[in-house]
Amino acid sequence: MKNCKNIENNLPLYAEGLLSDAEKKMVKEHLTECADCSKALANLQKVTAMTQRLPEVEPPPWFKQKIMARVRKQTEKKNFAQKWFYPLRIKIPVQVMATIVIAVLAVYIYRSGDDQMKAVLPEAQQPVMEAQQEPSPAEMPKAKKAAPALLAEGKTAVIGEVKKDQMSAEVSSGESAPKMEIQEAPQKHAARQESMKDRSAEDYSLSGAAKKSKLFKAAAPAASGQMAASVTDQVQPVISIYVADVNSAVVEAEKILTKHNARKVTKKLVAGKAILQAELPAKQLKNLLSQLLGIGRVEEKNMPADGGDQDIKVIIEIKTIQ
């Protein structure tokens, strides 16, 4: 039976004469003995004949026209595409232009993105970098003018309730912002303090109130972004106190200032005299003056005519009696 199956698979090839001689002989011998396989061969030949006699179908009359209509439609599409994209005389310039446009766009986007990145970056990072830069000669006058404000933050005593964060609220914007100063490296901070000392010493060693007032007049507009808006632009009053013991006088003066709601009180010792600088309401100025009389002999300069609600910056010089 197994042999019959193998023979049957070879029958189509046998019928077509495609078997080798040995296979052909084997099939032939089997067919003489096996009636089933002989019948299978007969059926196979009949089926093949039937298959070969199957009639051919004709294409419908519209067939060619329909195919050609679709082909022509396709050609129109192709021509349109070719017209715009295929010819090299257009294709190459289009490619070059596209490349240029993309390059320009990329540069533009990169640059605009850079600005945005700067804006997005935390404020602290940018001032640190700027603080590390040495001021250019052109910026030096500005730095000088801003000296009093910087003096207030960078230097010495912060008295009583006057705290750094308060100062930062008052002296807020610009490159001399306290926040940036806080984040400066300690050595940088120290170096800056030194330079500030030198600058302030230079400024305050100028003799005569006129010079000082001139200096502060100039400082006012330039440092307007750095100074508190509530501080008046008028000429700063200077109170000179002549005492026997400067150190104890300074302590007392500070107490008095604190009592009069003075803010941003700074102290500096320069060549045998102490300079206190503070901001306080103008209306408190007269009371302050009267209380300072208890410390020693007082001379005042540039005192405002009337007190108001505005804050005023006062410089108190405490000197030893000659």
Binding site: E8, N9, N10, L11, P12, L13, L18, A40, N43, L44, K46, V47, T48, M50, T51, Q52, R53, L54, P55, E56, V57, E58, P59, P60, F63, K64, K66, I67, M68, R70, V71, R72, Q74, T75
Partner: protein
């Protein structure tokens, strides 16, 4: 110009290919030249598709798609074989794709025989009916042909394609090998099995042949 050199290189293989001149014209944009190629091959392509699918209308759709695909890819024809071989390969592939879609849609699961009968009715008007013979003989012959077609459509696709090409369309083994891109031995073994399977199917359906 690559295709031109290909044509020259394979000149020996395609010396008797009358289609090439029209292919060249088509590539130059002569759409009418393609019409000649359609005219030449539409019938054979339709018959291949029809015998494989068993549905006349579907076969018409497939052949249209195949011609359009051939037109679009004329530049890909390398003239390594005859144009007709390339064209028949396209239609066979499109037909096989259609059969796959059918299978996926499960439209013809168990009702394939019925649909084959419908297809037969659909194409009846297009059959080349012999003018001789009495109506009873014609009816009997028509029934037998319907049975054969039904059994062909039950065969596996790989058997169906070789059977259709060899026994119905009369392709040579070499042509089948080129169209289907399978070895000679595979063509013969597939054809052998296809014939045996068809015989078994018809014996079941008709009885004594």
């Amino acid at each position: 110009m690559l295709w031109m050199s290909n044509i020259v290189d394979s000149k020996n293989a395609t010396t008797e290919d009358d289609d090439l001149q029209y292919v060249v014209l088509c590539r130059k944009g002569d759409v009418e030249a393609f019409e000649i190629l359609v005219e030449r091959h539409q019938k054979k392509m339709l018959n291949i598709a029809y015998r494989m699918l068993g549905d006349y209308d579907e076969a018409c759709d497939v052949v249209q798609d195949a011609f359009l695909a051939a037109y679009k890819s004329l530049n890909k024809f390398k003239a390594e074989s005859k144009f007709s071989t390339w064209l028949y390969r396209i239609v066979v592939n499109y037909t096989k794709n259609r059969l796959k879609q059918r299978k996926n849609l499960a439209r013809h699961e168990s009702a394939s025989l019925d649909e084959s009968a419908d297809g037969q009715v659909s194409c009846a008007a297009c059959l080349s009916v012999a003018s001789t013979g009495n109506p009873a003989e014609l009816l009997e012959q028509s029934e037998r042909e319907a049975h054969v077609q039904r059994c062909i459509t039950t065969l596996d696709v790989e058997y169906r394609e070789v059977l259709v090409m060899r026994d119905i369309q009369g392709f040579s083994y070499e042509e089948i090998r080129d169209v289907l891109r399978i070895p000679d031995g595979t063509v013969k073994s597939r054809l052998s099995r296809a014939r045996v399977a068809l015989k078994d199917c018809l014996v079941k359906v008709i009885g004594d042949l």
